[in-house]
Each structure stands twice: as C-alpha cells, then as structure tokens.
Symmetry: C2
C-alpha cells in the first residue's frame, strides 16, 4: 500500500497498522468512504486491511440483494457498525408520509437481517417551497415515535443523526446533538439513540456536555474532518481526519468519557478521496485513525 | 428601474416602493449588498430609492477618508444603522492580540464619528493550525470584555454577531444566538448587544426563545436568505430574501415581539447580486422587503 496519504498527498506520519494490530479493534469503514467499491470489494478491503467492522449503506446492499449481502457479511466475520440510512421523513403530504414510513420499515428489516446494531436516521430537509422549519422538526420527531415499535420488534436501535446546519434546508433538520437528545429522551436508550459525527457536531457550543448527556444513547461514533475552504459541492465537503479543523483528541475523549464502547466509523464524502484507489484510502484512514482517534477512544 | 428581480430574474410581485413610501421607514442598505458601489454611490443610491438608513463598512469609508465620509453621511441625512466591522480577535499571539485590540479601538472611533448605533463584531475563526475551539471562544469573550470601556466612552454599543456554523473554522467562532447572549449578558445592554441575522440564525433550534431572551440587546437586524444549492464560494452564499428557505414572516415577527424598533439591514454577499447594477439590486431588495419583511416588523 501507498505511504502517501489520501487525499492530501502528505507523507504518512505513522506506519500503516497491519491486520491483527490491536489498535484496529474498533475501526469501522463506512462504505461511502470508498464509494467506488461495491459491497464485495468493501468487505474484501476491510478484511485485507484488518478492519473488524463495516458501516453498510442500503444501496450497495440492494445491488447484490439482501440475502447475498447477509451471507457475505456473515461469512466475513465483520461486525456491522451501522446501516445507513433511514429517515427522510420530514415530508408532509399524507402519501409521502406513508411511503417514508414503509421505506423505513424496510430499512429496519434490512438492519435486522444484516445484524446492524443501529439504523442511522437522517431526518430530511424542508419539503420544496416549505419554510416552516419548526413544523418539519416536529414531523421528524413524530416519525421517529411511529418507528419505535417496529425497531424494537426487530432488535434495532434507531439512531438520530443531528446534521451540520449547512444541511438544515435540504438534508437534516435536526441540527444539534442537544436537539437530537431532546427527541431521543422521549424514549428508552434501547429504543432511540443518537449518532455522534465529528463533521456535524464539532462546532456545537457545549458539545462536551451534550456528549456526556448522551451517555449510552450514543449508538454510532462517526469521524471525518471539517476542511476549509469548503469544497464547492457541500455534500462532498468532508475531509480525512487531520486535514481540517476538528480536535479529534478532545472530541474522542469526550465520547469515551460518555462510556461509548462501540466502533469508530470513518465516513468521508469527498470527491478527492473517492478518486483514490480504495485500498489507499483505507490505508490512509487507518493511519490517521491510529494517530489521531484511537489513542483517545 | 427594472421590473425584474435580482438575481433570480423572476418578475417582481409587488411594485417598487417610491421614495417617501412609509413602508421604507426602517429599511437600511448594508453597503456590501451593492459591492460595486463606492461610498458616494451607495449614499446616492439610498437617497434615490428613498431608503432612510445605511449600514457602512470600514473599507469604503477608508477609501474616501473618515472626515469626508462623516460629512457625506451628515449631509445625506441617512441614519447609520451599523458599522461593519470590528472583531477578528480570536488570535492568540500576544502581538496579534494587541493589534486586534488597537484595530477595534480604531473601529470604535470611526463608529462614533459616523454616528453608527453599533459596531458589528465578527469574532474571527481558529488561528492557523489551532483546533481548540473552546479556547478561541474564550478569547473572543475576553476581547469583548476588554473593549467594553472603550465602546462605552464613545457611546457605541458592541454588537456580537453569531455566525452560521459554516464559518466556525475561518470566520466566526460564536455560532448561536444563545452563545452570543451568554457572552453579552455579562454586560449591560447599553454595553454589549447582539446582531440577529437571518442567514446565520434561521436554523438555530429554539431561536424564537433566544430572540425573545435577547430583547433590547438586539442592536441590528440583518436580513438575507439561505439558498440551496449553496454557491461554491460559501462566503458569497447569501441570497435575496424570498429566493431561499428562510421564513421571514415568522423570524421578523419574533424580532418585533422582542421589542426591536431599529432598522432592518439587507446584507447580501452573492456574486450574482454583485454583478447586477446597484440600482436594480436596491429596487429588488426594496420590493422583497415590503413583500416579505416589513409587514411583520
């Protein structure tokens, strides 16, 4: 594997950890970080690099069919740290509401079949022409509530993902960890948790207190960096850990302090990262993880 | 003036209000909205369109010299709704700290001379290579505290501007109205207030409660829209009111409910808006203002 980091091209500051290295014991590859890989390649890539865990997306699972995906995952021995994603339930038209509900129930079925610990819920943005953010947030909370019995039945925890306010209009109306917890706390931690993502939350005032408040509701810890200048396509604005402004040492310590014992999932949407060979990306993120995240977890 | 709106090109839905129209009584043009205009053109543009108030920037004032600027403003009869901007005091090197302090004192001198009600403070981002956001925020609060006696002496209110988290790394570490108020409330409302800007705050959970909490600390109400997809240069990502997702009716009602009686300043950083002739931009914003903002103020 390359000794140059993706995408910055800086020389790696640590050796690539070899498979079996105990420092990799909680590292998960979110599939979207290696977007050019199909499910088979992603599973093989994790195994080759010694990553014990993978964060799956519904689309590449659907490409091969659920049954095949389940078999591959079981044969691989990988943990499924999360399934991305449910949600997008801020719609207001009755038909759209029912469609979103049905889609989320299907996602829960898949999470159960795949043995995913949690279904990540990206709430969705404002419907076209709708400017009532308060009402959209209420619809998101109501949709979570409606899904709780379905999730419980399947042994899957719903993970609300608060999203950077840059996405409040078009992707995720839940904008802070505090707000996600206000919703989650209406339920038990076994029913509804929160996804803590450095990109989305690094800027939140008082985020340490909110992470501690979250405690055992943290169902997923996702890491990637906030880089400037922000890439032109804001959906692809996420950076490799160490390339941006996030203080991973402090943030990770707070997550550990909250009692989190799950995987750290590297999820990077970035055109430059996607352009690199998947194996190079995995090697880079493994190096950055053992340098910047793992010592504090 | 054109009957087509800038920059969308949609036909105007209301007539351009004529000078003397009472609906214009609280409308202020922030100079940066018509970036191609120098100070003289901006003053003349306000007078021609019947706007009673202007938000000044230090750079175009410096271009003609403070003395000339003061004379022009006084002769024009325009109110100066704010002076942009002080701040950028999150630096940590002792020399840089002193330089920022001196620069802010100069800005206060200018605000006093120009009769500006408030000096807008943009806190600044993280120094290069510095990832300690908590410490940068503390330095911002300390810098405000140090400026209070200087501001008081000059009869100028310091206006902390919380900025959309999109700018937390490189421009403004104070990210919510709640956080700005936590700092402002260490002082009297005559000393330190807050700038309420729709672009920066439209997404904040519980923002209505924070606006009501702000009450007479609101020293400036700035309006522009949050548009998607976000333009490639995020610094120029602001949209004309009505082109995006902000609910100006609700937001403006909350500001009025808080007791705000000052001007509404239209501040739009946007390459398309800047490319239009200044007079067309002013006509468009006046129409959008009387349609979307003024009825609720």
């Amino acid at each position: 594997m390359s000794a140059v980091d993706v995408p910055g091209g800086a020389p790696a500051r640590v050796e690539t950890p070899a498979p079996g290295d105990p420092r990799l014991a909680r590292l998960s590859l979110n599939q979207r970080t290696t977007a050019s890989w199909d499910l088979r390649s992603a599973i093989d890539g994790c195994l080759a690099a010694g990553l014990p865990s993978i964060g799956l997306w519904r689309e590449p699972v659907a490409e091969v069919g659920l049954e095949t995906a389940v078999r591959w995952v079981q044969e691989s021995g990988l943990r499924v740290s999360s399934l991305c994603r449910g949600g997008f339930f801020t719609v207001s038209e009755p038909d759209a509401v029912e469609q979103a509900y049905a889609e989320n129930v299907r996602a829960l079925d898949e999470a159960q079949a795949l043995g995913a610990r949690t279904l990540v819920l990206v709430p969705g943005g404002l419907p076209a022409g709708d400017r009532d953010l308060v009402a959209a947030r209420e619809r998101a909370a109501a949709a979570v509530e409606r899904l709780v019995p379905e999730a419980e039945q399947r042994g899957v925890v719903l993970g609300i993902e608060p999203m950077n306010p840059i996405y409040a209009a078009d992707r995720g109306v839940v904008s802070t960890l505090a707000q996600a917890l206000d919703i989650a706390e209406r339920f038990t931690p076994a029913q509804v948790g929160v996804v803590v993502d450095t990109f989305h939350l690094w800027w939140e005032p008082g985020v340490r207190e909110q992470i501690l408040r979250a405690g055992d509701r943290i169902v997923s810890y996702q890491v990637c960096d906030w880089i400037t200048p922000l890439p032109a396509d804001t959906l692809l604005a996420r950076g490799m850990m160490g390339d941006g402004h996030v203080d991973f040492a402090s943030f990770t310590r707070w997550v550990a302090e909250a009692g989190y014992t799950g995987d750290a999932e590297v999820e990077i949407f970035n055109a430059d990262v996607w352009a690199a060979p998947g194996a190079d990306t995995v090697a880079t993120l493994a190096r950055r993880y053992v340098e910047l995240v793992q010592p504090h977890l």
